[in-house]
Amino acid sequence: MNKKSFGSRVVAAPYIVWAAIFIIVPLLIMAYFAFTDANGVFSLENFTQIGRFKKAFGLSIFYAIIATIITLLLSYPMAYYMTKLKISSQRMIMMLIMLPMWMNFLIRTYSWITILANTGLINKFLDFLGIGRLQLINTPGAVILGMVYDFIPYMILPIYTAMSKIDNSLLEAASDLGSNSLSRIRRVIMPLSLPGVISGITMVFVPSVSTFYISQKLGGNKDMLIGDAIEYLFNTGPHYYNIASTLSLILMILILICTLIMNRFSDDEEAVVV
């Protein structure tokens, strides 16, 4: 539909204005800060400081990749299983998946402290069994767990949507042509659900790599992820806005590159656009 009617433009106008003010303008401001120094003069000096943040970048990307893989491994079978259920059960499970998202994610993250803490629920139970405590909180594992828990709905939902759209007659045709159930999953379901997977990976990886707070609360606040570093810089004062903007810009470019790579995997029309 290349020809846009006047009506459709009017309908879209509020959102376009919204997007311009709250997405485009902030991006331009960020870019401006990233390429200037504290006096507002053009400078690339911020980019020379990036080396200091390589551990933070590395950790963020590493944690995000692990978290994305785990969410994918958990979500894919779950989504498949869901499509096999009665419609009413599907709706029920869908609601259960969405339910935690009705709560603020800061609170959900905070509640993991009481579960994982040295004196938390799990360790109290282990104490009770006489097994002794495990170091759960303040570990990379806890941070990744936090990411998986917070972002898993963003993986299940697109995969589930893609799978439930698969026409049942395709599966029947595959069976008629001699596929067993395993090869049906491999040759029919997997390729057709790929757009959902790609979309899910992007929607989990992007918030994971840029997250802050989770690492502060569950990771002991000792090693900064890149989101934490940006938060610290912005909170410390205006003289850090430039370097913080540079970090944000680089993070965005990294995310953009990842998204483009992911999109190459699916030549489907429904490829994600971020």
């Binding site: 002991g220 570093a229 004062g237």
Partner: protein, 366 residues
């Protein structure tokens, strides 16, 4: 029909039970005069977290009492560090009528011309402030501040989990307490623990001394469980962590929850601070702000705050009140001979400040 209405009714009941868990107003003996001429206006108060008696557990809700008295609506927001407060204020776009920063931040705000003068002569309760807290380095002419609380930093430990440590900052670096010790999650206080251990001034302008303190903090990072601010309450109270530095007043509040907790002032000396009420230049409702300050200075209100917050009070009617729950408390009001060596934070030159902010980032990125 009923089936459809039922959820609605349940929701209503829930809302009502949330709204109406009754707060009973106190009977106040007020000395100042509080007009209602500013009724309907708003007052934006920006204060530290857990830093006013807020009506929990039957204590007084100071803001609600003020609202009832004057009809002024109090918009109360909190900050976690002086630096956060500063950057909020500096960024603009916010409007506060009352802020309660610490000494060194007051000096900085004053030097950057961000504070409005307070006419103390028109505050009928101002005479209660002890003279020893007036005219200090951050406000020598006493024109911009009204002291609110005084505090000192010490080390809190859980006597059920560890034996009494040597009274030194060294405890925070001690491998015995690996994964059980905490430290401050703000640069100034965090560096203070290392600077005191090294015997340096917390106001040093020698960058090498700051670098050395940073190296020391990096050495201690592996031993620490985490860097915290107010989360230290839960961590020490539940035994999640065994030892950590915090403000003396907060120790008393934690002790109410867990009586195994103990407190000492490290022998190398520590930091003392005064948080004072100020009016920022961006004030919109100056008259109401003055009423609020005078209200905070009411003996009844000051007592409620002092008992809730647990910090030492600069208010003579509180200090000399035998009914005050921390009356002559030896941690808050130590005798001359038990008084640790203390140092105030001063506003230090910008290059030093930016240096230590950078070092703190390095410590976290390390």
């Amino acid at each position: 029909m009923l089936k459809k209405l039922l959820p609605l009714i349940l929701c209503l009941i829930l809302c009502m039970s949330l709204c109406c868990c009754g707060y009973e107003y106190f009977e106040l003996n007020l000395e100042g005069v509080y007009t209602r001429e500013f009724e309907g206006t708003e007052l934006n108060v920006y204060n530290w977290g857990e830093y006013i008696s807020d009506g929990s557990e039957g204590c007084m809700d100071v803001n609600r009492e003020f609202e009832r008295l004057t009809g002024i609506k109090v918009n109360y927001t909190t900050f976690e560090s002086n630096e956060t407060m500063y950057s909020q204020l500096k960024n603009g776009g916010v409007s506060y009528d009352i802020i309660i920063p610490s000494d060194y931040m007051i000096a900085r705000l004053k030097s950057e011309n961000m504070l409005a003068k307070i006419d103390t002569a028109s505050l009928s309760n101002y005479h209660y402030i002890d003279d020893s807290y007036k005219g200090l380095f951050f406000d020598e002419t006493q024109e911009y501040t009204v002291p609110y609380n005084v505090g000192m930093v010490g080390i809190i430990y859980n006597s059920a989990l560890i034996k009494e440590p040597e009274h030194s900052w060294k405890a925070l670096w001690d491998k015995k307490y690996e994964n059980m010790s905490l430290n401050f999650n703000n640069p100034r206080d965090g560096f203070m623990t290392a600077q005191k251990l090294l015997g340096y001034s917390v106001n040093s302008t020698n960058l090498d001394e700051w670098n050395e303190a940073c190296e020391l903090l990096k050495d201690g990072k592996d031993v620490l469980q985490s860097y915290v601010m107010d989360e230290i309450y839960g961590k020490l109270e539940t035994g999640e962590a065994a030892i950590g530095p915090y403000y003396a007043g907060d120790y008393l509040v934690m002790y109410d929850v867990n009586e195994d907790l103990r407190f000492f002032y490290p022998e190398e000396g520590t930091n003392i601070f005064i948080d004072s009420v100020c009016i920022p230049k961006c004030v919109k409702n100056y008259e109401a702000a003055m009423l609020y300050i005078n209200f905070l200075l009411e003996p009844d209100i000051a007592l409620a705050n002092a008992e809730y917050i647990g910090y030492a009070s600069p208010h003579n009617a509180v200090i000399n009140n035998p009914d005050y729950c921390y009356y002559q408390n030896e941690i808050l009001y130590p005798n001359q001979e038990d008084m640790p060596y203390v140092e105030y934070y001063h506003d230090i030159p910008e290059n030093v400040r930016m240096h230590y902010e950078d070092l703190w980032l390095d410590l976290k990125l390390y």
